[in-house]
């Protein structure tokens, strides 16, 4: 038991931050990302003894996170209808790294949920299209389409926002 705990602790130390960063792209907020990763780690830990030495905990945790995020979204959708508009936020200095991070996440949150998940898994986690398709339960072709449209929408959202802010 102690051996498993230590191996798990080492895994969290090594890979936790990577999954936390992916989670914030899915959720839009750091505290929600932390909650998502914590809940997913608890679920992963239940399966930890069953994971073979050569298993891929990252793949397990990613699947748990995607499923957990999906169940959260389903629980929330009755109360929160997405309106497709960016929340109004004053960002004083676009050059500031923190402002850019927040702005990109806002633009990301304005995308349809599945499109957002495809972008995060494909271009941040860097998974191949087939693996993203397996995780999200859709075809590789759908992943390709959503990735293409998602990137254009993301750029469009950011572009419109910048355009309005700078009055050009």
């Amino acid at each position: 038991m102690a051996d498993i705990d230590e191996r798990f602790a080492a895994y969290v130390r090594d890979r936790g931050e990577h999954h936390l960063r992916a989670a914030v792209l899915l959720t839009g907020e750091w505290h929600a990302a932390e909650d998502l990763v914590q809940e997913s780690l608890v679920k992963l830990y239940r399966a930890w003894p069953k994971l073979r030495a050569d298993g891929d905990p990252d793949a397990y945790l990613r699947r748990i996170m995607v499923n957990t995020r999906r169940s959260w979204w389903r629980a929330r959708w009755r109360r929160e209808a997405p309106d497709g508009e960016l929340p109004e936020t004053v960002i004083a200095d676009f050059a500031d790294g923190q402002a850019l991070a927040a702005e990109v996440r806002q633009a990301l949150q304005a995308l349809p949920r599945q499109q957002r998940a495809v972008l995060v898994l494909r271009y941040y986690v860097d998974l191949p299209e087939a693996e993203v398709a397996d995780l999200l339960g859709c075809s590789p072709g759908t992943v390709k389409t959503r990735a293409h449209r998602g990137l254009l929408s993301l750029r469009g959202n950011l572009g419109e926002d910048r355009h309005e802010r700078h009055g050009n």
């Binding site: 399966a47 699947r63 629980a75 271009y123 941040y124 750029r155």
Partner: protein, 225 residues
């Protein structure tokens, strides 16, 4: 790789650059796991009738052989009666996800407990090393070898706060009363056959509860005569 893809990767990476300091996933995991263990243990310490055993298991599915309203009445009556007296409980459970037709993340465990719901006293221990004690309005939770802390530790948590924790997998049955309500809603309790143990004989009942569209609990309850 196209320019659009390159820009997308750059933007997504930039969107994580404001990670606040002070996030300790390992410490947070330990707390989340403690809450999860208490919740799972307490949910397990629910079903009993005299000498009773409840098992949420794959095998129990096979015991469902038809609808029998008197069985539901017998089980709910026994559960109601149990809530007014002390009792002993042995629980075995298995949980898993089904993804693309395949079983994933299976987990198994056994818990035994003694409960006195009238005096709000309880003691339980589980095969995964978790033990709990309920006394004086507090739940004391002990785990062996928690992450980063060898040996046995006890944490004290106000019992009242446990009922307000969000339920894992949308399961809300964390108290005997809630589990009884779920059993009543199940409406599908069937006689699974005779049962006996040291000094008692009784009947085993099988039940199915569907708390969510994709969640199904199956199990058995044994009621002594």
């Amino acid at each position: 790789m196209s320019d659009t893809e390159t820009e997308g990767r750059r933007l997504l990476a930039a969107a994580t650059e404001d990670m606040p300091s002070g996030i300790d996933l390992l410490a947070g995991f330990a707390s989340a796991r403690r809450r999860d263990r208490v919740r799972r243990t307490r949910r397990g310490a629910v079903l009993s009738a005299g000498v009773a055993a409840a098992a949420a298991s794959v095998a129990a599915v096979l015991l469902t052989i038809g609808s029998a309203p008197p069985a539901l009445a017998t089980v709910t009556s026994a559960l109601t009666h149990t809530l007014t007296q002390s009792y002993h409980l042995t629980e075995q459970d298995s949980s898993y996800y089904i993804w693309n037709g395949r079983i994933r993340y299976p987990a198994h465990g056994t818990c035994t407990s003694e409960e006195d719901p009238v005096r709000h006293l309880a003691a339980s221990s589980c095969s995964n090393g978790v033990a709990t004690r309920d006394v004086g309005g507090y739940t004391y939770l002990s785990t062996t070898n928690p992450v980063g802390h060898p040996g046995r530790h006890w944490d004290r948590i106000p019992t009242a706060s446990l009922g307000q924790l969000p339920a894992i997998n949308s399961l809300a049955a964390d108290t005997p009363q809630q589990m009884l309500a779920e059993i009543k809603k199940a409406g599908k309790v069937t006689v699974a056959g005779p049962a006996s143990g040291p000094g008692w004989t009784g009947t085993r009942y099988a039940f199915t509860i569907t708390p969510g569209s994709k969640i199904k609990l199956t199990g058995t309850v044994t009621v002594d005569q």
